[in-house]
């Protein structure tokens, strides 16, 4: 099986973002998508801290401490970009004005429930940021994650065991071995990496998956 690395996952996800889309990329893994957007499409990135039309990282020495992204990294603003305050920023998300958000996840359930803010461990310090607002407010929520956790368990689950971020909010999951489309409470497989069979994927997740690949018999 040819597992995708994180860069390949970001590249693959970026191909599914259409021209003209307003997109919010969560911190961590989803940030990689910014560098993979197809150059022939005009895709506008929103950052929760008050940027629309966010551009790439500045050249060394050109950093501006007042121009950062949600992960507090230095960024630039594209011509046509603008700034706004936090209530407007979250009105964009919650009000359904953002077409796609891409979030990382600890777990996603087949019904679209998302858990990505807290492990629930007693010594962990929880932090939620804008994840709950994006999960409920963006028109589509994509998750980008490795399918298997470090302990070998599937992160696509029947029911989340970590505290929830949002209910039935995830529509697609881009993983290192397959792409899933979630609808009607079930997880459909729309792409598999080379060398992995549908049955092998079913045994990895221990879920009743649907083969939704092009040409697959229902």
């Amino acid at each position: 099986m040819k597992r995708m690395n994180r860069q390949m996952m970001a590249y693959r996800l970026a191909q599914d973002i259409p021209d003209g889309a307003y997109v919010n990329l969560g911190i961590g893994l989803p940030t990689l998508v910014a560098n993979c957007l197809p150059p022939d499409r005009e895709i506008i990135l929103q950052s929760e801290n008050g940027l629309l039309g966010m551009g790439p990282a500045p050249k060394a020495g050109q950093e501006d401490p007042d121009l950062i992204n949600a992960g507090k990294q230095s960024v630039t603003l594209l011509p046509g970009g603008c700034f706004f305050h936090h209530a407007d920023s979250f009105a964009m998300m919650r009000g359904g004005h953002i077409d796609i958000c891409v979030l990382g996840a600890f777990q996603v359930a087949a019904n679209g429930d998302l858990a990505n803010w807290h492990t629930g461990a007693p010594d962990a310090i929880p932090a939620v940021g804008g994840a709950m607002d994006l999960a409920v407010g963006a028109r589509q929520t994509f998750v980008m994650m490795e399918l298997m956790a470090r302990d070998g368990s599937s992160k696509l689950v029947k029911q989340c065991t970590y505290p929830l971020t949002g209910l039935a909010c995830v529509s697609r999951i881009y993983t290192d071995v397959a792409i899933f489309e979630l609808s009607g409470g079930r997880a459909g497989v729309i792409e598999l990496v080379d060398g992995l069979t549908f049955d092998e994927l079913c045994s990895m997740t221990d879920l009743p998956l649907i083969d939704a690949r092009e040409g697959a018999s229902a």
Binding site: N49, I125, V128
Partner: protein
């Protein structure tokens, strides 16, 4: 004559008392009013409840206020970060209370306070641990939770330019929580890099109308200070 420009940061924060609730602007270090906070540390107020997006980054601003043990409780969305060591230490020692709120609900509750609303219904957080016990209501087929406004005694914010009536403009993404915190606090105090004459700020681009601001202090900007 109205003149909200104070002579110093120390004068601007002089009447902040023990036990006050204080909104502090900034997202990470961008927009953090470091000089007002330094003045507040010198002034000595303690047992503060602080509302900010984070819980301090690095060693300056809110991080310094927490390090000095002045903060009893923090209401924020994203405390844990690679450089939140001063909060982490106080939290693990049981010396600071944390109330976690989804970032958009934090902003909406601050804005609701400034706008005089009694409460808001928001879909964010429904069905999660962060809205456990909140009143819920189905509106147009979507489940919402009831959230109450967040008021404050003082807001400490950073802006770029201001005039003696308190009109403010901001710089880039340092704007973040400044405009809504100015609205929500009984006394909003802004540190600005430059004060200008009335009429110098284009009325079409004023971001915070002066009515929301009670005091201004002109301080050298972090950019200039670093130069």
């Amino acid at each position: 004559m109205i003149n909200k420009i104070m002579a110093s940061a120390a004068e601007a924060v002089s009447d902040i008392g023990d036990g006050s609730t204080i909104m502090i602007g900034g997202f990470g270090a961008a927009g953090m009013p470091d000089q007002l906070i330094d003045a507040l540390i010198d002034q000595g107020a303690k047992d503060l409840t602080v509302i900010n997006n984070n819980a301090g980054n690095g060693d300056r601003g809110l991080a310094a206020l927490i390090r000095e043990g002045r903060v009893r409780k923090i209401i924020c969305s994203f405390p844990r970060q690679s450089d939140s060591q001063h909060f982490d230490a106080r939290y693990r020692a049981g010396q600071i209370e944390l109330e976690l709120a989804p970032q958009g609900n934090l902003a909406a509750r601050i804005q609701a306070a400034g706008a005089g609303l009694g409460a808001i219904f928001t879909p964010t957080g429904y069905g999660t641990d962060l809205a456990r016990g909140n009143e819920v209501r189905e509106i147009d087929g979507v489940m919402h939770v009831l959230e109450y406004p967040l008021h404050a005694d003082f807001a400490l914010i950073q802006a770029f330019k201001g005039d003696r009536w308190g009109n403010l403009v901001y710089r880039k993404a340092a704007r973040n929580f400044g405009p809504i915190m100015a609205m929500a606090a009984r006394c909003a105090i802004a540190e600005v890099s430059e004060t200008v004459e009335l009429g110098d700020l284009d009325p079409e681009v004023v971001v915070t109308p002066g009515v929301f601001v009670q005091r201004l202090v002109c301080v050298p900007s972090a950019l200039e200070a670093a130069a």
